[in-house]
Amino acid sequence: MRPARRWPVTQPTKSSLLNVLPLKQRMKIPRQHMLEQCAEQRAHNFTEVNLGYSEELARQEALRCLDCAKPACTNDCPVGVKVKDFVALIVAGDYLGAAAKIREDNVLPAITGRVCPQEDHCEGGCLMGKKVQPLGIGYLERFVADYEQRHLDISNLPKAAPTGKKVAIVGSGPSGLTAAGDLVQKGHQVHVFEALHTPGGVLVYGIPEFRLPKQIIREQIDYMRAMGVEFETNVVVGRTVTIDELMNEEGYDAVFIGTGAGLPQFMGIPGEHLNGVYSANEFLTRINLMHAYEFPKYDAPIVDFLGKNVAVIGGGNTALDSIRSALRLGAGKAFVLYRRSEAEMPARKEEVKHAQQEGIEFQVLTAPIEFLDDGKGWLAGARCQKMALGEPDASGRHRPVPIEGSEYEIPLSVAVIAIGTSANPIVQSTTPGLNTSKRNYIQADATTQRTSRKGVFAGGDIVTGSATVILAMGAGRRAAKSIDDYLTSGEW
């Protein structure tokens, strides 16, 4: 183990000096595949699908970077990771340096390296992708983050000089953790409140072990503790303590609200109350937070999936996380019912590919219109309707239009509804003067993340509605900067 490095790294990396391979040759190196568990095997376990890069694979992949003068990757990253600089450090074999370089902009590299939709951000604009395949930025990020975890001694991280200012972070999901990490580096005292018994928010309760192992989250949070961030679990802000009490009685100078998208949406169709119909949030929380897949070693149960027909309704990452979990619980047949076509699916491309490899059947342009009762209060099936694509709606995606007379029934024992969430009202309803949108999301400035309340900032899904981990982290990052400005200047 190497000694703690001085952090953050300040000297700029002359990335062009580190990769001596001529540009033309870089283009000839194929994108390096990440090792993964084979589909037959992984469909029956909760162990991580992707196994990571070896040093050789990582350096080979890193050599492909074209070292663009105007790097789209950094530009398209919601937290602005200096991609070509960290990649050049991989080429040079300085993996800890690469990790430190990422950490200048991203305090959760092991997490984003696994769950970011890179195709929509860094890899989406990669010049290599225009010609061949984009640089494996996510894979490389994951590699250096995992390397750092194994090799960096975090017991003695350097700390910024204390400013004497206290910041409360409400919620320990991606936006809260990012804001906390950035603020503690500025020397502020940062205290994170979490409603559940484990910090991590959606990273813990929402994303399954096979995509983001809990151990990784624990390690990232341990790192934040080593940076000086304090965590307090079992506090539901709005119930256990209010924002006003935090500021007036507990001496917090600023508060960041990152409570996430709260309430699961249901479809409002007949039969949703039947046993065997889950919201994705409940299903995933039972699996991920409560370890129901390890029942009876863990106490929280889940219904029996063995050999059963299971469907998820929805086409996002949550839907795929749910149905792939169901498969791992022993489901006989696993379906995705999605009302638009595969092209409109919001899920990460890699997840769709992995799910298809594992044998999950996609029934697109399909929506259930009723859940059927077995006569004893349990789900027996779904009556579905086929859809056609109509004109684009507000989201720019084609609106699904029901096809009359296309109804058919499929037998199902379990259905998981993953069609999105709406705003959890607990904080809004207990914080006077906090402006909200028509749909009860908290209103915050898109640049400063300031709310209508002095000293109160908000970001992530509680402002935007359901989005991605990295977009929430971007909001946390902007909020941290703006909180620091506010605490330094005292000006609102």
Binding site: F295, D299, P301, V303, G377, P425
Partner: protein, 296 residues
């Protein structure tokens, strides 16, 4: 960790705990509940708060052994700790001067009705309390409830104490006597709350019941605790736990609460087997295995 400052059995299988939880104690209002988890393998179960003491920073809960988790909880004693306690959750009871209120507690539900009865009394209501239990031993909080009630009636199913019969018998008597009743609060087993709601529906007496569906997070995030109210899904953890008894679909509640019956029975059997084993070999190391079951 939340320290148990005091633990005592009120009746066989019914235990009262005083727990150090200063944040919760400061905020608790009658009708609210906590969710607790006993150990790393444990499930999360909701338990109504029986009382709180903001100055001492303590809350009280009353727990009836039902499944694995409640049995394990009731094996804890003064000085032990509970890993996680979060709250206060749920909407507080609506407290105002309604006039005459009948507070009905069935079994351990009496402990949940008590803080609301006390608050209703303080708000100036005439409080008539009706407490029912299976037998004499299981009548709890009689003295406490008597202190906050203008009248207290007790029934036991087997007649071993006070009047033989059910709480609904007493309610019927009140109605038949022409007692003016402005509000009924019924907290207890589902069949009892359902029977009370059916009786008062005809009389058009506003009736509040406290529901106990299966919960996980308790903040509205999972939707597991959804109950059918007026044909629509509502979440007991954020919209309740108290609802208008005339609008609740009790059969859906019974059906959804049975969802994990088989798993609950397995957990309980494993627990009992392990307990027998441990009792037979008392020198063995204390079990770290966790418990499952119950609920409020």
């Amino acid at each position: 960790m939340f320290k148990i400052l005091h633990a005592e059995f009120l009746a066989p299988g019914i235990k009262r705990f005083v727990i150090e939880a200063p944040r919760i104690a400061r905020k608790q209002k009658p009708g609210q509940f906590v969710i607790l988890r006993l150990n790393e393998q444990g499930e999360r179960i909701p338990i109504t708060i029986e009382h709180s003491d903001a100055e001492r920073g303590t809350i009280g809960i009353v727990v009836q052994s039902a499944g694995k988790t409640t049995n394990l909880l009731n094996s804890l004693n003064t000085g032990d700790s509970i890993l996680d306690v979060v709250g206060p959750l749920g909407k507080p009871s609506e407290i105002e001067n309604f006039g005459t209120v009948v507070v009905m507690g069935g079994g351990v539900g009496t402990a949940m009705a008590y803080p609301t009865a006390a608050a209703l009394k303080r708000a100036g209501n005439r409080v008539i309390s009706i407490v029912g239990a299976r037998n004499k031993e299981l009548v709890i909080l009689e003295r406490e409830l008597r202190e906050v009630s203008d009248a207290l009636m007790i029934t036991t199913d087997d007649g071993t104490y006070a009047d033989k019969g059910f709480v609904t018998d007493k309610l019927r008597q009140l109605i038949e006597n022409g007692t003016r009743i402005d509000l009924v609060l019924a907290i207890g087993p589902i069949p009892m709350m359902r029977a009370v709601a059916e009786m008062t529906r005809k009389e058009r007496i506003r009736t509040v019941v406290s529901l106990n569906p299966i919960m996980i997070d308790g903040t509205g995030m999972c939707g597991g605790c959804r109950v059918m109210v007026d044909g629509k899904s509502e979440f007991a953890c954020v919209d309740g736990p108290e609802f208008d008894g005339h609008r609740v679909d009790f059969s859906v509640l019974v059906q959804r609460n049975s969802m994990y019956r088989a798993a609950e029975q397995k957990s309980m059997q494993d627990f009992q087997r392990e307990k027998l084993h441990l009792d037979a070999a008392p020198t063995q190391e204390k079990t770290t295995c966790a418990l499952h079951g119950g609920g409020r």
